[in-house]
Point group: C2
Chain length 431, copies 2
Amino acid sequence: MTAHVVIIGGGFGGLAAARRIARGPVRVTLVDRQNHHLFQPLLYQVATAGLSPADIASPIRSLVAGHPNVETRMAEVAGVDLQKKQVRLRDGGSLGYDALIIAAGVRHAYFGHDEWEAAAPGLKTIDDALEIRRRVLTAFEEAETEPDAATREALLSFVVVGAGPTGVELAGAIAELARFTVAKEFRRFDPCKARVVLVEAGPRMLSAFDERLSDSARRALEKLGVEVRLGTRVTSVRADGVTLGDAFLPARTVLWAAGVQGPPLARALGVELDRAGRVKVQSDLTIPGHPEAYVIGDLASFEVEGGGTLPGLAPVALQQGRHAADNVLTALAGKPRAPFRYLDKGIMATVGRAAGIAQTGRLRFSGFLGWLAWLFIHILYLVGFRNRLLVMIQWAWAWFTFGRGARLITGVTPPLQPAPAPTTREREKVA
Amino acid sequence: MTAHVVIIGGGFGGLAAARRIARGPVRVTLVDRQNHHLFQPLLYQVATAGLSPADIASPIRSLVAGHPNVETRMAEVAGVDLQKKQVRLRDGGSLGYDALIIAAGVRHAYFGHDEWEAAAPGLKTIDDALEIRRRVLTAFEEAETEPDAATREALLSFVVVGAGPTGVELAGAIAELARFTVAKEFRRFDPCKARVVLVEAGPRMLSAFDERLSDSARRALEKLGVEVRLGTRVTSVRADGVTLGDAFLPARTVLWAAGVQGPPLARALGVELDRAGRVKVQSDLTIPGHPEAYVIGDLASFEVEGGGTLPGLAPVALQQGRHAADNVLTALAGKPRAPFRYLDKGIMATVGRAAGIAQTGRLRFSGFLGWLAWLFIHILYLVGFRNRLLVMIQWAWAWFTFGRGARLITGVTPPLQPAPAPTTREREKVA
C-alpha cells in the first residue's frame, strides 16, 4: 500500500515539504486550521493598512492542486500520538501516518503574562493583522472626537514591544501612516504629533544583524519620529497603557512583537522541548526516538555547530521542508537519512519607505540600497504571479502618493466603543 | 456665523452631496458609522472571493480631505430631532444643524421574519460580504470531510432568495466559483455538482428590465448551471435549509437578496413613510414641513409622474445628492429650491464572466456586449484611480485563469464548526 505522509501546517515549511514529497510514491495529507498559506514577512503591511489580506495569502488547496496525491484538510489538530502514529483532529477525525512532518509554527510568548494578550495583541495570522489594523485606525478616529487632552494623547500613543524585524517594521509603518498618509485628514488634532514608541529589553534593535546595520536602522526609525527605548523592560500592560520599568506610559494601542513559544500541540507530544517550548530535533530533523516524525520551521529547535539554534526565518523553514521531504522518501526507500545543513543566504529588514538593512555573507547594505534589496527579495518570493503584480502596483502607488490602500475598519466589534477584551484564543498557526 | 450642514451617510448620495456642498460658504459634517465609502454594486464580488474589500472601498476621510470645510465623523446616529434641528450620536455627542441631508440607506427586509436573518444573511456592508464569503468557502471545506452523502449534498446546495441584480450576480458568481475556480481542488467530491438555486416570488428575474433582457439573463444563468425558480415563495428559512412553498430544500448556505426596508432611524423621525419604511419626500427632496431636512438615495421615497417611486440605484443617489446640495445652498441664499428630476441613464446587470444585460433609452444590450457595457461603466465609476487599476488587473487575471483572488476564510468565528447564530445586529448603513 502507498505510504501515507501527514504534514501539519501549510506555512513556508509545510508547503515546501508537501510540494517536494508529492513527487514520490506517497499519499500526502496537508492539515492546516486556515484555508490559506500566508506570506508572513509582509503581514505587518496588512496590519498597517498597506496591503489587503488576499495580496499576501493564497488558498493552500490551489497551491497543491497540481499534485493529485496531495489532499488538503482544513482542520485543527487536537494532538499527535507518536506511539500509535496517529494525528487527532478537533473535528473528531483522525489520520494515521507512516511519516509525519510537524510544521505548526510558534505563537506569541508573554513571558508568563498571558493576561497581557488582550491589551497587546501579537501578529501571526490574518485575523491578528485585521485586529491590529482596526485598533490603529480606530485610535485616530476616536482622537478626532475626544474632548479630553490627556485621553487624546493616550489615543495617539502607539507602543510596540520588541525590536526584532516585526516590531521595527510595525513601528516604522505606523509612524509613516501618521506622518504622511492621514496627515491632512483630521481637523481637530495634528496626526504628525502621534507618538510611536518602540521598546526593547535588549541593548540594541535587530540584534541578529551587524551592530552597524542595527544602528543605521535605528537612525532611520528615529528620523521617522519613532522613539526607540533600548534596555527597557515592560513590567505591566493594561488597556490604557504600559509600565516601562517604573514609569507608566499612557497608550491605548500596544502591539506585541517580543518573543515566541511553541504551541500547546508541542507540549502535548511528550518529547524534549527547549526553553521556548520548541521541539528539539536531531540533525536529520527527526524527533529523537521517532525516526518517522519530523519537526521543521519555527517550531524546530535545531542546534548548530558552535552552539545556539537556527532562527525562525522563512528560508530555514523552506530548506527544512524540502530536506524533511527528501529524508522521508529516502527512508521509505530503505536508505539512510541525511543531516540537514542550513545554507545561510542572509537576513534583511525594512524601515519605512526608503530605508532597509540587509546582510549576506560578507556583504552589508543599508539605507536605500538595503531597502531595494528587501523589496526585490520579497516580491520575488511572494507566492503566485498575480500576488506579485498586485503588491508591486500597490507599493508603487503608495510610494509615490504616500497613500495606503487598505484603510478599512472592519470586524464585528462595533467601532468607536471601548474595545472589549478579546477572548484569549489560541493563536498558534495549527493545533 | 457660517451655516452648518450635517450629512448622515457616506454612500453614493451622501458623498456626492458633501463634495458638492463644500463649494459653498458652509461648514459640513459628514457622519458615517463606517470609516469607508463603499462601491456597493461590486460588493457581491467581495462576497464571492473575486475582489478584496479594499478594492471597492476608500476611507471617507481621504475622499473629502481636499475640502477644509468638511469634517468627517465616524459615529453611529442614535436619532434626529427635526424640531430642535439636532442629530444625536450613539457615542453621546450631538450635532446641531442649519440644514440636514439624510442619506442613511436601507437594510434588508425579511417580510416580518427577522428570525431568518441568522440563517440567511444579506449583503449590504463589507462585514456582510466577508461573512458570506466565509460561509460559501467553508461549505466546500466541510463537504470535503463530510462522510454522510445527504449532509454533503446540503453543504453543496446554495440558495439565493430574490432575483434582482444582487441575487442574480451572487448566484452566477457562486456557480462559477464551483464550476471553474475550485473544480480541480477537492478530492472527495466534484465541486461541479454543487447546486445553486435562485428563488424568486415574482414571475420573472430582474423585473426592472425589458422582458427580453430578463429572459436572456435567465438563459445565461441556467447555462452556468443555476436552477432558476420563478413564482416560488420562501415560507421558512432554517440553518439546514429553506421551505419553498411546501417542499423543503436542504441547503446549508442561504443568502438573502429579496427586498429592503428603511432603518429604525427613519421610523424614529416621526414623519410619513412608505410601505417599505422609506421617507416620503417632496419634489425638492425635503421632508414635508421641514424645508431644511432632505432625504436622498435609497432611503428617499420619491414619487415619479405617472405613479411609482424611483428605484434604489447609485445614479439616483448621486443625482439626488448633488441636487440636495444645490438646494441647500440656494435656500441659504434666500432663493427658492428647485424640484428634482431624475435623468435616467439606464440600468444594467451581469451574469457571470461574459454575459450581461443593459438598457438605456431605447437601446438594449445582452450577452457579451451587455457584459462589456457593464464592465466599462463599473470600472469608470469606481472611486479612485488606484482602485480602478487594481480591479481591472484582478478581473483580467480572473478572466483568463478562471481563478479568484480573495479566497480567504477569515473572521473570529472558529472555522469548521457549526456557525453560531449571528447576533441580529442592525445592518443599516448609518443609524
